[in-house]
Structure formats: C-alpha cells, structure tokens
Amino acid sequence: MAKKIISVKVNGRLQEKAVEPRTLLVHFLREELCLTGAHIGCETSHCGACTVDIDGKSVKSCTHLAVQCDGSEVMTVEGLANGGVLHAVQEGFYKEHGLQCGFCTPGMLMRAYRFLQENPNPNEAEIRVGMSGNLCRCTGYQNIVKAVQYAAAKLQQTEKEAA
C-alpha cells in the first residue's frame, strides 16, 4: 500500500514518517515511535486506554488515523512529566491509589490532564462525567475521583504560587 509522509509533533518533537493511510494513530505511536504508553483495550472507542491529546483535545487514538494528525501536535503519557518531575495528575494517581493493573492509567492520565484544563475546579459529579470516556476494571473509580481532585488542588495551588 502506498505510503504518505506525515509531519507531526509528538511530545514536543517533530516526527516525519511515511505511513500507510490506514495506519491507526495508536499503532503509529506504539510501533513507529515506540511510545507504548497508550494501550489498546477495544476497537470501538469505548475503553479510552488509548487516549492521547491532539491539539488540545482528548482523542481516542485507536479510532483515529495517523494521517489525520499531519501538522498536529500530539501529546502522550510519555510527555506528561517535565524534566523528571511528575505532572500533578501523575502524582495524584500515585498518592491516591488511582491505579491497580495500570493498563487504563495512561489514558486516564491524559484525559485528566485535558479535563482539568477544561474544568479546573470540578466537583465529584463533574469529574465522574468528565472521566466517563475511560474505563477501569480494577479501581471502581472512587480513588480515580480522589486522584483528579488531588491534581486539581495541586494545579490551582501551583497557579496561585506563580501569580
């Protein structure tokens, strides 16, 4: 199958690669770029384990073509920590025991990262709705809610300190 060259910025780094037009973004990330953080849990956009951030939106990369990202900025879980310092959502999931098997975690983190920009001060019901595109089979979500609350508080505090 003829390949198409795409140019996409992934975690701040420009990548130029030739891909088959049918290549899913999640396969491009995992197999071409060896970024295996995004996982594949279904093929119907339900589980959210493959969630990444594209141009400021949460996207399920298992139902998104790599060629659709030509010229875009993609961020994956590997891009969350900054110079070895964990992002507030990563710290929240760790501190509040928001993960068990870890398979849904990269998608959860990427969704939480974007959700807290959409709604920096959410209540519990808003968190539950905001995170409802991501399934977890292990935690029962109660600690995921706490993890997002932890991250929200931390991000607000950081912002306050910066101001």
Binding site: E20, R22, T23, H27, R30, E31, C34, L35, T36, G37, A38, H39, I40, G41, C42, E43, T44, H46, C47, A49, T76, V77, E78, L80, A81, L86, Q90, F93, Y94, K95, H97, L99, Q100, C101, G102, F103, C104, T105, P106, L109, I127, R128, V129, M131, S132, G133, N134, L135, C136, R137, C138, T139, G140, Y141, Q142, N143, I144, V145
Partner: protein
Amino acid sequence: MNDAVDPTILERTAALQGMGDSRLRKEDARFIQGKGNYVDDIKMPGMLHMDIVRSPYAHARIKRIDKSEALKLPGVIAVLTAEDLKPLKLHWMPTLAGDVAAVLADEKVHFQMQEVAVVVAEDRYAAADGVEAVMVEYEELPVVIDPFEALKPDAPVLREDLAGKATGAHGPRDHHNHIFTWTAGDKHAADAAFDTAPVKVSEHIFYPRVHPCPLETCGCVASFDPIRGELTTYMTSQAPHVVRTVVSLLSGIPESKVRIVSPDIGGGFGNKVGVYPGYVCAIVASIVLGKPVKWVEDRIENISSTAFARDYHMDGELAATPDGKILGLRVNVLADHGAFDACADPTKFPAGLFHICSGSYDIPAAHCSVKGVYTNKAPGGVAYRCSFRVTEAVYLIERMVDVLAQKLGMDKAEIRAKNFIRKEQFPYTSAFGFEYDSGDYHMALQKVLDAVDYKALRAEQAAKRADPDCPTLMGIGLVTFTEVVGAGPSKMCDILGVGMFDSCEIRIHPTGSAIARMGTITQGQGHQTTYAQIIATELGIPSEVIQVEEGDTSTAPYGLGTYGSRSTPVAGAAIALASRKIHAKARKIAAHLLEVGEADLDWEIDRFKVKGDDGKYKTMKDIAWASYNNLPAGLEPGLEAVHYYDPPNFTYPFGIYLCVVDIDRATGETKIRRFYALDDCGTRINPMIIEGQIHGGLTEGFAVAMGQQMPFDAQGNLMGNTLMDYFLPTAVETPHWETDHTVTPSPHHPIGAKGVAESPHVGSIPTFTSAVVDAFAHVGVTDMTMPHTSYRVWQQLKKRGLAL
C-alpha cells in the same frame, strides 16, 4: 495506652513500612509514566504477527479451506490450519478439566468465533488482510444453545470426537452431550431432613453467562531459538509455571528449555488462567518459521472466544423449622460448559468448590449435584474474580435464605443471625466437609446493622410501601457470605497432577537489601508492594529495599499462580516461612557476633538484642554483611531461603454487605442509594490496597448484577461481544462505596491473612439481587434473574401492576 513507648521503636517500625502500613505502591512509577511492559509492548527483531480466521457459525462442518489467495498477499508468510498441526499432534490440546479442546477446528466448528486457521505475516495489518482472504466453506449443522435441550435424547451430537466414550474425566457419561455429574454431601441425610421438615422452600435460580473482560486482552510473543533449541514466550498468563509444564509436555521441548514470562498484566480476573489456541498457534508458528511471533487478540475475540464464567442453572431447596432454623439444603445444578470442558478448577473438582454453598450457616444436612453439559458456546467456566465456582455457591445460598425468610415472614437479618455458625463453633466442619477456620459473623452483622441504622431503613421502606403515590420502590439487600479461598491443600487440590502449593525464595544481599521471588504473578493486586511488607515485618528490612519479582519461570520458584484469592493465603505464607528460615539463621549469626548464646537474644523490629543489655545488638543489616564474611563455624555463607508452602487448609474470608436501592416506577431504573461493605480478610497487610481491591471487586459485582450478559440467538450468535453491548460501568454509573472491616485472623496461616480481592465480587452480586427483589417482596416476588437492567426491572413493575 502506654505513653512510655520508646519513640525509636515507633520510628524504626515506621521506617520498615511493614504489615499494616498503607504503603504507596512500588509498581506505580512505571505505570504512571507509560513505562509498563505489557505483552503487546514487547517487540523483538524480525518479529512476525499472527491473526486468526474464526468461524461465523456456531456449529458447522468445514468442507474446504482455501489458503491460496491469502498466501498471494504482500507480507503474508504462512497460513496454518488443523491439517498443518495434525502431524505435530497439536490440532487438539488437553484442557485443565480433563477434556480436549480443538486448537484449530478439526473438520467441524463447535461455537461461533472458534479458531479455524491462523495467518502469520510481517505486520498486523498484513495478517488481518490475510485473514480476510482465507476462504472457508462450511456446511451448517443444527445448533444447541440451551443446556436443557442439549440433554434431550434426540439432541444433535456436538462432540463427535467423543463418540462411544461412556466415561469422561469425572465419571460416567449418560448422554452424548453429558460431560460429568458431580455430587457432594450426604444425600440420604439431606433427604431425611426434607422428609420430616415442617417448612420447605424451593427456587430455580439462573446465574447467567458473563465474561471477566480485563481491559488488556489475551496475547503472547513466542520466540523459538532454533540454534539453542530454547522457547521463550511472553504471555498474558495468571499461571506461567503451569503453562511451562503444559508447553513442555505438548511440544516435547525439555521444561528446562521452555521459559514462560508473564510481564505486566492488564487485569486477569480469571480470564488469563487457561491456555488458548492463539498461544499454541503462535508457539507452533515460531518453531516452524524460526522467528518470534506475536499474537494479540482484539476485544471481540476476547469476549467471544476466551473463557466465560458462570452459566449455572440452579435448583435450590431449604428445609426449616417454622421459626426459621435451617435443617437441610439440597441443590441441583445444570452447568453449561460450552463446546469443550475447559473449566479452570482443581483437577478433582469439576464444579470447583461449589460445595461451599452451605454458606455462613450451621446446616446439619446438605447435598448438591452438578451436571456439566456441552453446548455450542465458547468453552470456559473460569472463576471470574472468585475462587472456583464460589460466586455461584454464595449466590445460591444467599438467595435461598432470602426466599425462606420471605416464606416465613421473617426479617433477612434475623434469619441469618439465627442460622450463623457461632463464634465458639470454629473450627467448624460443614455438612460438605469444609473446615471453616475462624469467624465472628454475629458481631460483624451487628456492626453493619448499626452503621446503616437498619431499623430506620425498614421503617422508611414500610412508609413508602404504604404510600401508593410513592414514585419509587425501595429495596434493602443483605448478604452475609463466607468464601473458601487459597487453593489449596495438595492432598485435595492439584492442577494436572501438580499440587497447588506456592513458593517464595528470598536472598539478602551483603549490604542488607533483598530480592524475593514468588510463584504467583500480580495483575494489579500490588504484590511488589505488599509482599515486601511481609518480609519487612518478618526480617526488619525496609520494604523500600526489597525487590519483588514474579512471572519469569526461569528465575522464580515454581508456583501455581494468581487466581482464586490464593496469593496471600498461599504465597503469602511461603513468604513468611522463607523469612523465618532466614531469621533463624540470622539469630545464629547474631549470637556469634555478640558472643552470646542464641537463647540470650531478643528480636526487636530490626535487630537482635542481648537480653538485659539494650546497648548490645546487631541489626539485620549488620547480620547480612556478616553472613558473607564472618560466620560461626559450620554455617554456610550467604543469607537466603526457599520455602514451598502446602497449605493445611483453605482460608475462609467473610463479609456482611448491605445495599439500598430506589427503583423508579416509571422507568425501572435502579439507583444504588447506599452500599455498605464490611469485609473480614483476617490480618491486613496494606489497608490502602485492600480498600482499593474492595472498591474494584464491588464495581465488578455491580457490573455483573446490573448489566453484564452474553445473550445468544437460536443460531448461536453472541449478541453482545463488543464494549458497545457488553456492560463495563463508567465512573458515572458506578456507585459510591462505603467500606468497613473486622479482623479475625486465620489460625492456621503463618500471618493470619485470608485473602480479600474476590470477596467484594462474590458478596456484592447477591446483595444487589437481594435489594432489587426486596423492592418487590411485598407483592410476592422471590427471585429475579440478573442482570437487573432498567428494561427487565420495568417488565417486573408492569407484571405486578406497579409501573407508573
């Protein structure tokens, strides 16, 4: 409280992060940074990809398979069918239940989505193209979906390969679709109880087929090195050591040259216990082609073809006195095992530990009978987050006790308290022969009733029932369950002849840090965190410097794996006892270093102290160093131990769960207003992890009770095999959980721990049903079949004239 406690003792204890500490998880750092190492993350040089051609029919004869078009496609390397596996005698494989299962369909298919051929290609897209291009011609055969139909004299013969076999792995077969009939208890005594009992109740209770559906599907990377003759396979397996034995037996490769590695596992819940055709085919393909071969199934394949759970049609009967004392229990089960008997149970127990079905109650006479049947459905019958068939057993007895209470007009809590095994009766031998280790059911029940103000809830319910305009029906569910976990004593439990012990090996390094390896494998339970805590408390080494490794058969000691809540009861005991071997040697070294007798030493947290002289001591760190350079005469160097633990008995965790539901009379929607879960898992190693496990188990129980189902049409098509149809709850539907606990240590376990991860699944499912049925109890409803979806509940509302 003793205020004079030396603060350094508290500080030293805290520094260990041992048992009882809600230590944060050691495994999280990699998972939160996208650095987990799951099977699909593994990439090897020259690796090929395999995909599977599956049957669209549930029962059909294969007339012809044409590979030619597929083989012409770019990137396609090979196509394998049963004909290719026949010369290797690998077209069928033994199952854990003593049956055989087709690896690739041999002349006919027995269920929809059965494996018919595999395509190996240079990448996963080319493999998928190849699957599309393999042409298979089928001749449809009559399909049997209903297990009752399967046993009719003129039912189609499903397993032609078993023609003429009057005896199966578990005794005589009386019909061509019959697998086994297994019984437990004393039939004569149970019948006698029923003959004379003044009160009898019976109920037909169906526990539908569901699927464990971990978020990561099953898969493997098989890599055969033809030069060395060694096979390495990375696999989503909950039991890698047993898989190694099976692979060696099937392939003829010496077990020493087979290495099975379970890397990070994205949830198992029983789904990853068995050996699936995909694994076998990937291994064969790697051996034949001399290259690594990866196979990872998709979600539809996972739900359609890998191991299901439950599918038990149960007839329960209780005999009792008019004031509610249970005198006898009888149970008859028809078990739909699908096309091959591939249940994952201890070999001698084709219905697992279903005979725990006398529950938490002192029932003098009991008998059960389970009949296994073939149908045109996928094989399985695994323990979905439970010990073997314990979920079914607990569901049966808890439903039956509710039915009896209703018949007698008694309160659910009262009838349970009346029949509980009393605290002073432990150890208690049930009518089925289980020896319950410990419990205090009355105290735990009272704690829950007080916490939720049970009387006030019943008063509220009565008031709502009295109001014909009340828009909701209120239901209160109560379950008081006991599990049997930690399989198990090898005198009773084995898998293919291997006793169900587990193991631990610990090595203390010269500078006082340690590595420990076990025969289990974590799939999210947090073993790397909690196992280290056991060692920390036993040996006085900080958890932080104890590395825990599992899952690689070339490095870990042999163990039976992680399922049936057996990790803490079995491997946890092995860890404690291996630690104690090291502790005993450390005492000798300490005595040598301090120039006193062993009896002159006291152990304190992390050190041996000379009795009566606080200033003279050696820490475990000192002893570790000395064990490599300064030993008493006759003692070999090093500080390490291995222990294989064969449990003397199972463990019996229990719980008291209460649920309040409000059912919308207009829509049938059931709101979980409150769910209160009290668990007693004996000694608690890490309360944070226990609570997390309970939240997760309750959520899986909620999914089963309220939405999961695998409906088949008459042609054997599975009507819901994607996450569009198969219910995995999101954060929105999932209720808020309230947790509580009591602690009744197991007297026979080295640290008193009983296991916890499955209790919330086992206990919550009947609690939801109890609550939903309770909402309709005043109009005479005694049972409702799961899942309690809005539509099904609304149908009940309509039928009883309660719909608005």
